[in-house]
């Protein structure tokens, strides 16, 4: 504490007094002096206002920093919400487009083969093709969706079409339909879920089927799409289709698949043919399953009793 007659002349003591940093005993002593010194009281008041003003400036500075921080937070949070909103909007639009395309026929659910009954449906008319390939659909209630079903109804016979050079008169065009088949379960030919037992043997691209003691063969071949004869254009469809030339041979059938991208030879060699009913079959090449309905049946002499054996 100062030894001067007015302690308020000591700036250090004055500061400590105003900022409340003095001991209680010191403060009491100074307060006693203040009560008898008007000039000192005025000095203390002025110093308090000075300190209060600086405190006020500091608080305002801090409050401004707080407001800025909150504003930044708010802006960031708004941007986050904007992004979420945008993503949600995009999702809604995509889902909406999907629904629209589904109902407008642009999309169809994948065909499943988990049911016991398979119905072969006649495909849409192809003005250039003599006969149509078939779409295969699942029908849990054995509902007949098409003109024929797996239980022996016959498909309308194909009309003759103008055949390209080199094709035999017994040949006709089919649109094979690429279908989805679950990996597990019923997709093996021998499955009990199929209407026919599936035992067959194979030599290269030739599949041999024994039916009532008579040998039937189905030969698989492929050609590139640009070799497709003029007029045999792949139809636009919800399904991927494979334009196929079917030729009846003395021993059975020959299937020639016309594709933009050919299977490798090894893939063709590993391919299998799975009879589904007497007039429908599925060609499995790698992971593709191409379904056909063969008007008149895939055998030379269709029978209600069909047996496949290894040769």
């Amino acid at each position: 504490m100062s030894n001067s007659s007015h302690w308020t002349d000591d700036a250090d003591v004055l500061d400590r007094y105003v900022l409340g940093r003095l001991e209680e005993s010191e403060r009491t002593l100074l307060d006693r002096h203040l009560s008898g010194c008007e000039q000192c009281s005025k000095q203390v008041e002025a110093e308090r206002e000075f300190a209060a003003g600086i405190k006020l400036a500091g608080r305002e500075k801090l409050r401004e920093a707080l407001r800025q921080s909150l504003k930044t937070d708010e802006a960031n949070s708004f941007q986050r919400y904007q992004l979420i909103g945008l993503a949600a909007a995009v999702l809604v639009v995509l889902v909406g487009l999907g629904i629209f395309r589904f109902y407008s026929g642009g999309i169809e659910w994948p065909v499943k083969f988990s049911s016991k009954n398979y119905i072969i449906k006649q495909g849409p008319a192809d003005s250039s093709a003599a006969a149509q390939g078939s779409a295969i659909r699942q029908s849990p209630q054995n509902e007949n969706l098409g003109t024929e079903s797996a239980n022996g109804n016959q498909a309308p016979h194909a009309e003759e079409s103008a055949l390209p050079e080199g094709q035999s008169a017994g040949s006709f065009w089919l649109l094979g339909t690429v279908v989805m088949i679950p990996e597990s379960g019923a997709h093996t030919p021998a499955s009990a879920e199929r209407s026919l037992p599936a035992k067959f043997s194979k030599q290269g691209e030739v599949f041999i089927i024994h039916q009532d003691g008579v040998s039937q063969t189905i030969t698989l071949a492929q050609r590139t799409l640009h070799l497709l004869p003029h007029g045999q254009v792949n139809q636009s469809s919800a399904y991927k289709t494979v334009q196929t030339l079917v030729e009846r041979t003395a021993n059975g059938l020959s299937l020639t698949l016309y594709q933009e991208k050919l299977f490798r030879e090894s893939q063709i060699r590993r391919a299998t043919i799975e009879p589904v009913t007497e007039d429908s079959l599925i060609v499995d090449v790698e992971h593709e399953h191409i379904a056909y309905h063969i008007p008149g049946g895939w055998g030379a002499q269709p029978s209600t009793k069909t047996n496949f054996e290894h040769r």
């Binding site: 250090d12 308090r48 206002e49 000075f50 500091g58 707080l66």
Partner: protein
């Protein structure tokens, strides 16, 4: 026990941020964490949403000042402390406005604001004038005066923060800055 450790950790983090000078994050965290109860209290007691925002900001600033000046002692959760300060500020403000103070609403003596004459002068016209004049000072002087009168840092610490040789230099500089501010005030 798990939750109290959680709160202790959060409070410790906030106190650390304040001491380190990360004002934006510490203040915003305190503000957001205490907004709901403080706004609810003020609005239930004759206040408006603006009053509530103002009171909350002030309470957060008071806590910040106490921590920075070393006067804060952690005896309860920060949220309890903030709420106590906010109640005190609001009840004093209500009394000043001569509005009815809610029944049973006692000033929280455990978390009392400094009732010093200095605090009472904060909102005076003269203080406002000093505050405005301070903004006309150059940055070093402004900062030095804020460190001394607002943050109430000891001169040794101010010397360290401002890069002065020692506390004596800081004291001398503070005197010069104070005189400079008084000159501006005289000319106002």
């Amino acid at each position: 026990m798990k939750s109290s450790l959680f709160y202790l950790h959060n409070d410790a983090k906030i106190l650390d941020l304040i001491r380190k000078g990360d004002d934006e994050e510490s203040l915003a965290t305190l503000y957001k964490a205490n907004r709901r109860p403080v706004v609810s209290y003020v609005m239930k007691n004759n206040g408006t949403a603006d009053d509530a925002e103002d009171i909350l900001q002030e309470a957060v600033v008071v806590l910040w000042e106490k921590v920075r000046s070393g006067q804060f002692h952690y005896e309860s959760q920060l949220s309890t402390f903030i709420m106590g300060i906010a109640k005190n500020i609001w009840l004093r403000r209500l009394a000043r406005r001569r509005k009815e103070i809610p029944e049973g609403a006692n000033i929280d003596e455990a978390i009392s604001l400094d009732p010093s004459p200095l605090e009472e002068l904060i909102d005076s016209d003269r203080s406002r004038l000093v505050s405005d004049s301070l903004n006309k000072l150059g940055d070093p002087c402004k900062k030095l005066l804020l460190l001394f009168y607002w943050e109430e840092l000891p001169l040794e610490q101010i010397a360290s923060v401002m890069g002065f040789a020692n506390a004596e230099t800081a004291k001398s500089k503070k005197y010069q800055c104070k005189k400079a501010l008084e000159r501006i005030l005289k000319n106002e």
